[in-house]
Symmetry: C2
Subunit: 253 residues, 2 copies
């Protein structure tokens, strides 16, 4: 950004190409427009296909380009701000929750989840599979784990349709002491990729949440957000408008 004095750094070959491509994207292409194929682009910029591909991968990481199955590479719209950290602690499924339930099973939780929940390794846990849609597009999938001990009043007579609502209703009767979250980079598992319309292995932001009640972890969730289209927002002062690629000179499109 030209604001700090740093020694020159050796830049890889695709780096300059990336800058040139960003200029081209800003001046010649509209959001949603399909880019020419790699062969034509490589010829136009006088670079090897491998170099071009590296630059395109970088631009995808930065949210400037989208690779869409059966469509090709398109110019990405600005990332959506997706509110993750609520200003006040709320239980999943309570109030104006952005998620909707896809299914619910009672099953043994993966060992690390069991460790977090403090459940026995062979103890079944209510597992609610949820999805979050924004602007008509699924942006995240989630597995929400609720140990039986957290919902002792749960009716034993549950149908597939009533299972998730009943678990959430019981959960909401507990007093929520607090919650915390961790965000890290991951790659989309096959089933998440399918829900999110991405290829397996696509970069995702994985948000792990813990919900505390009665001095223990009453529920935990692992949510997988599309990293290409989502900017996760935390705090109660509205959506942050600055993004990294904007800070590098992106013009409004």
């Amino acid at each position: 950004m030209g604001t700090t004095q740093l020694e020159a750094v050796q830049e890889p070959k695709y780096w300059h190409l990336k800058t040139v491509l960003i200029d081209a994207l800003d001046s010649e292409f509209e959001v949603g427009e399909i880019l020419p194929n790699e062969r034509d682009l490589a010829a136009r910029f006088g670079v090897a296909r491998a170099t071009l591909r590296q630059a395109l991968e970088q631009l995808e990481l930065e949210g400037r380009l989208q690779r869409r199955r059966g469509v090709g590479t398109t110019v990405a719209p600005p990332r959506m701000g997706v509110a993750v950290g609520p200003s006040a602690n709320v239980w999943p499924g309570a109030g104006r929750d952005a998620w909707h339930t896809i299914g619910c099973v009672e099953a043994v939780a993966p060992a690390p989840i069991a460790a977090v929940l403090g459940t026995a390794a062979d103890e079944a846990v209510h597992t609610i599979h949820r999805e979050r849609v924004m602007q008509g597009q699924p942006v995240a999938t989630e597995l929400l784990y609720v140990p039986a001990a957290s919902v002792p009043g749960l009716s034993p007579m549950l149908t597939p349709a009533s299972h998730a609502p009943a678990v959430l209703r019981e959960l909401h009767t507990l007093e929520l002491d607090g919650e915390d979250r961790a965000v890290e980079l991951g790659s989309a598992r096959a089933e998440d990729a399918k829900h999110l319309d991405r290829l397996p292995g696509a970069p995702v932001l994985v948000v792990t949440s813990r919900y505390f009640a009665g001095g223990r972890v009453a529920a935990a969730s692992v949510a997988t957000y599309r990293a290409d289209t989502c900017r996760l927002t935390f705090g109660d002062s509205g959506t942050v408008e600055v993004t990294h690629h904007q800070a590098e000179g992106r013009r409004a499109s």
Copy 2:
């Protein structure tokens, strides 16, 4: 995780290889150990080099492997939990701040930053370059932008050494109304990459923060965290122990 019933999804060739590699990492390698070269690995698992490389890239995204310049590919230690969202709002540089200052200049901010700060396009802004070190390793770099209007009492007689402390001291005299953050995926700019001991273009988590005082944005920052080694934590209930790759069956190492 075997907890939801989903239709079979076509998985790319490297996907199965990744599972096999994870098993090998868990059973045969120690944290920090250098992996055999690509040729040997490809031969051992009977796959093409390109397939192997895709699987290795996935494992790097998931934080299981680290590519280190001049060393090769090593088995990564578990990611570090890095607290990003404080439990109480605090100004940058106040209290037990995890950052230390590298430098400070007064310069025109990039246009999107100026827009957030509400400063004129040609108005100089105090820009503090900071670094965050954990376990002896730089994990993040940050540019903190403070408009002159936020620090009206700043002495005009500043040396390079006194500039940043003076700006922070003045900032701390304001009452902080609130702060918010956004997290998104990015790729390391050359100068950030150098600080973080990564190659330019390496995946990073970009955290943009706004600090509110007197009904406006009194300061803003863009921080770049290593995505391979960091898990960003939010909330005041301690560090979240579950990580995505652990949830997929990683054993404690």
